[in-house]
Structures are given as structure tokens and as C-alpha cells.
Symmetry: C2
DNA sequence: TTTTAGCAGTCGCATCCAGCGATTGCTAGG
DNA sequence: CCTAGCAATCGCTGGATGCGACTGCTAAAA
């Protein structure tokens, strides 16, 4: 824990660095705070902060730059979120007031990217308690089956699953009919229960298939893989370093990693910085995410991704605002 | 048209520049060609080539760099494709010999990206003559309908369409049943014909709906929007210039532009350079694409995207090889 | 003990200059 | 038409210099 003065200095350090992007001198901090102490005192404090790992000097005769630890302290002690400029609020409101069709999520991530000047991600909610309308099975390879679920609202979940023994068309058809009976007209949970009942009284290969499909359905409940990405071209504005950019692009390419970061299981707004993310060692990356609820029990994620040096106050407000908008639009 | 000697010099210029990435001197060209003339003569020729727009000098005392026009001449006069190294050929063969499930296209684009060290794209073929298994309509908004087509092989086309008048659930259900009768068990063309017949004897809102859906089906025939992208992180290796990179990322973000470039309607292998592409003015970009046929009448596209300075011979072979592999795997 | 003024010391950075090396265009002669 | 030879051009590198922006430290004041 930092005493009050150190905290004030650290906050000023972060603010100034976020604002200018250059090492911050003791004089600059004296100007920004009203501690009524001289630059020499601030220098002493800064030396201590550096010792405790909150700041570094690029070189001896330069100012201080905040570390990941400093940013973490900064965001966890942020009091009260900032008011967004009214033009921005208005834009978000207008966006959600207007009609959107199937691609609301894509458009919302574009909006967020545009406002935050950061790459933005929206992960759609799972199928939750949507009522099923159709179940289809397809033999993709001897022991690979594709399971397609369609809800009454027109959402589609499409997943592959492996089965132990090769299956033939007959079995697939039988399993499909069975599954349709269990799922259609019910939501996933009900359907899964029904399928489990049926399964216990059946046996053989069809049973195996139904079980596999039910497993897929269970997964779909929380994790249909709907991921929308907006504002990729922002990347070049944010990370001037090519090596860093390369790492970022590689990370963004692996969907699994993205789903890990934008995890629907999470709750509320989160800010994760540097090592807290599954990106390479000391990557200059921070992520701001929040959840939004889509009706009953489905939840999605919205967030942005940026360099540690970002305006956290504003970004958090922006993400939360868009998250709320999404929740209201989609949660009916 | 260039005379033989100029052509030889130009080819050497391109080869050398592709190889080293530095302005090419008259001496280097003399070394690479066996024209039996002095560097002075080559200098004269180079001056003329420059005058005709095939080369530029970064500064007075530097060698020459080929222009887009030079690359264009070079590729259109490439004779005979290069043999790929046997290890590479083997890898491609192994890839297509192995089993792939739903994500063959994604994996193929990753393979191509990996081999070419360039970002690669695969555009899947349309639904072609696949037999339909299901048709679903969903009301997404008062006058927006989602049309979902599912084929017997497990492929899904999902598109939105606007209708003139708001529709209610009843009409949608009626239209859906009608469409199912027409499409299920037939391929798209047959289904469209059947639907047109039915439509002429019906009237009112249901008719409007069926027509809209049929329109969507017609589009799906050739252009289900399946696009697979591999090797994005290559970008940073290829374009060191941030401004250029930014432009590229922006381009890649707009799917429409990508579909324009990787257009299934195209035929055979194409190399497009610089202004021939719908990317910004003098973007340093070239694209190598080829088509592959997927059974009956469906065709897809494979290709890569790189800076003008690339090994066209090798790249063309690579793209064609992967294209052939895809055709064989998917065309049965 | 804490704070502060003052100052020496450090270091990056911009500028300048000179010399080097690569390469060209040109000229004059074959 | 070709070519040997040569002066001229120009980017690049490295060293030298001075400036400016900071810091850390010291010694005195609060």
C-alpha cells in the first residue's frame, strides 16, 4: 500500500505519461499535483517508487515511465468513472436506438473500436435458454460428426465432434430423429435432460451418437463461438514497434486465445494488464472487458485491447456504456 | 514491346531486386546476364528502361529498382513454372493425403501461408449442386428476414434479406413450408425452378417472401460467403512501413474488398500487381490467385497477397499446387 | 527527521563535418 | 553502336561537439 503522497505522485505520473507518451520529470509532476513540495522531494519519492517497482528510467538523465505494476495500482484505485463527452454518449445512444439486424455484434464492435481508437471485440452470448428449432447431424468423416443446432430466433451453432466408432448413415438418421424429438421446442437444458432420459433406455451406436451430440449441445449453452472483431487497422497506430505488432497479430489469429481473454464466464468489468494476459512475456498490452447479459442466462463479452499506455478512465466508461447498450438491445 | 536484350536486362533487374531487396547496379546485371556487353551499355539500356517507366532510381548515385510496370512485364513473360523443392511438394501432398474435416479450407490457407510466407486466402465454393436438406426463415426485424439453407453435406448458408412489407409469423411459416417442399431433396437450381413455379400460382405476402428467399438461394449458388484467412502475422515481415501496413489492414478488414479480389468468377491463375487491385493508390501489393473446382459447377479461389517484391515463380507454383490439391480433395 | 536549494554529472540527441564507397552519366575514341 | 575511363553525385557512417533535460547528492534549513 502506498501512502497518500506517493499515490498522488504515481497517479500524476500515469496521467502525464498517458497524456504525453514521454518520460515524466519531477518538475512535470510538481506542476500537475498540488502537494506543495519541491521537485527535490518528488525526486526522492520517485526514487523510492522506482525501488518498489512502480517506475523505471529509460536512462539516467531521463524522467520516469510507469511500469505495469503502476498501471495496475492506478486502475485499481480509480475512483468514480468519468463522464463521457455528451457527443459520444449521444452517438452510442443513437446507435442502439437504431435498428440492427443480424450483425448487431459486428457493428457494435466497430462502434467501440471507432470511439476508443482501439481494436474491439464482442463475444456473443451462448444459446442460453433459446428454444431449439432444429437439430442436424452430418457425417464429415468416418468418425467425425458435425452437429448443427438452430434456435427459433435464427441463431446457429455448428460444431464438430469425434465419436469412438465409425458411424453409418442409418445411425445418424436415427440419432437425428431422436435428438429432434428431445430438443425441438425446448431450450437446451430441457433438451439435454430429455436426451439423457432417452439415452438410458437405448443402447448401441445410436446411443453413442446421441450422447456425443448432447455433449456438444451442453457446450453450446455457454459457448457458441461467435466472435466479432472491429478496428484491426488501429493496431498500427498503437504499436509502432514491428516486433510487438507481430506478436499481437499472432495472438489475435489464434481464436482460442481470444476466447480465453474474452471469457463469458467472467463477471463485471475487468482490466487486465501485461502479464495478467496470456500473451507473450512483457507484452505491452492491456485489456478492458465487461459482460453484458442477453436475456435469461446468456451472457456475452465486450472489450477492447490496447497498449498499457491508454486512457483507462475513458476506455472503461466506453466499454461499459457499449456493454449496457448491448445488454438492453439484446436482453429485450 | 521490349527487344530481347532489354527484356533480359529487365528480367535480371527484377530477379536481383527480388533476391536482395536493394537497388541493382549495372555491374550486378552484367554479372547475372551473359549478354557479352559492358556495364556502360547496360547503363544506357537502363537509362532507356527508366525513361519508359520500367525502373526508377532512389537517388542519382544508386542502382535501379523495378516499377510495377516492370513486374507486370516480368510475370507476363515468365516461361514455364518452376519446380518446387521436393520437400515442399511432399509436404503439400501429405497435407492433402491426410484427413481433414470441416476446416479443410482454413487449414489449407494456413498451409499456403506457411509455405509462401505470405498471408493466404481461400474462398470456398458456392453451394453449387449440393442437395438441400433444410430451409429456414426467421423474422429478424419487421421487414428483415434471415434465410438459412442447409445442404445434405452439412454446409450452411445464412443470409439476410429485406422485404418490402413487414411480415408476420404466419406468413413466414407458410413460406417456409412452401420453400421446404421446393428445395429439400433437390439442388439449388432445381429448387429455384420449383419455387418459381409455385410462386406464380400463389399471391400476396407469402409470394413476396418466397421470392425473396429464392433470390437469396440464387445468390448462394455462387457466393456463399466463406472466407478463410491464414498467416496474418506475416504482414509485419513483409511491410516494414507502418503507413503501408495500416492501409493493408484496413483493406483486409473490409470483406467486400477481399471478395472482389478473390473472385470465384475468375478463371485460372492470375497475378495482379499494384493499381490492378482495388487497394489505395500505389500500394505496394501484388496478389496471386487461382481457381479450383469443387465438383459439378462450384468453384473456389485460393491465393496469396504480398509485396510486389516477391518470388513470383515460386509463389505461382505454390498457389497452383495448393489449388490443385483443394480441387482434388473437394471435387471428389 | 524531513524538506529544499543548488549544483555537478549523466546521457540522449541533433548537428556538423569529413571521408568512403557505390554508382551513374558523359565523353571521347574504337 | 559499343566501351573504357573518369568526374560528379549522393547516401551513409563515424567521430566530435554542444545543448538541453534530467537526476542524484550534498549540505543547510525547517
Amino acid at each position: 500500500m502506498l501512502d497518500e503522497r506517493k499515490a498522488a505522485i504515481l497517479a500524476a505520473l500515469v496521467d502525464a505519461y498517458v497524456d504525453r507518451g514521454e518520460p515524466v520529470s519531477s518538475a512535470a509532476i510538481a506542476r500537475l499535483t498540488d502537494l506543495g513540495v519541491s521537485t527535490a522531494t518528488i525526486r526522492n519519492e520517485l526514487a523510492r517508487l522506482e525501488h518498489e517497482g512502480y517506475a523505471v528510467q529509460p536512462h539516467t538523465s531521463a524522467g520516469r515511465v510507469p511500469t505495469a505494476k503502476a498501471y495496475r495500482y492506478y486502475v485499481s484505485h480509480l475512483s468514480g468513472s468519468s463522464r463521457l463527452r455528451s457527443a459520444v454518449r449521444a452517438r452510442i445512444e443513437r446507435f442502439f436506438a437504431a435498428a440492427h439486424f443480424g450483425d448487431l455484434y459486428q457493428e457494435a464492435s466497430d462502434l467501440l473500436a471507432d470511439l476508443s481508437h482501439l481494436p474491439a471485440v464482442v463475444v456473443g452470448p451462448g444459446l442460453g435458454t433459446d428454444v431449439m428449432r432444429g437439430v442436424h447431424l452430418f457425417a464429415m468423416a468416418p468418425n467425425v460428426v458435425k452437429v448443427v443446432l438452430i434456435t427459433a430466433t435464427g441463431r446457429i451453432s455448428e460444431q464438430l465432434t469425434k465419436v469412438a466408432r465409425p458411424v453409418d448413415v442409418r445411425e445418424i438418421e436415427a440419432a437425428e430423429q431422436l435428438l429432434a424429438k428431445c430438443f425441438v421446442g425446448r431450450d437446451l437444458r430441457e433438451g439435454i435432460d430429455a436426451a439423457q432420459e432417452v439415452t438410458s433406455s437405448r443402447s448401441g451406436d445410436v446411443r453413442q451418437l446421441v450422447q456425443a451430440a448432447t455433449g456438444v449441445a451442453a457446450r453450446s449453452r455457454e459457448s457458441v463461438r461467435e466472435l466479432y472483431f472491429g478496428g484491426t487497422s488501429q493496431l498500427t497506430n498503437l504499436w509502432a514497434d514491428l516486433a510487438e505488432l507481430h506478436r499481437l497479430l499472432e495472438f489475435l489469429q489464434t481464436e482460442d486465445a481470444l476466447f480465453e481473454v474474452f471469457d463469458r464466464q467472467a463477471e463485471g468489468t475487468m482490466v487486465r494488464i501485461g502479464d495478467e494476459l496470456p500473451i507473450g512475456r512483457d507484452a505491452d498490452v492491456a485489456v478492458v472487458t465487461t459482460t453484458f447479459s442477453a436475456g435469461k442466462d446468456g451472457t456475452g463479452q465486450v472489450g477492447v485491447l490496447g497498449p498499457m499506455r491508454m486512457d483507462y478512465r475513458r476506455t472503461i466508461s466506453l466499454v461499459e456504456e457499449v456493454g449496457e447498450g448491448l445488454g438492453e438491445s439484446v436482453g429485450e
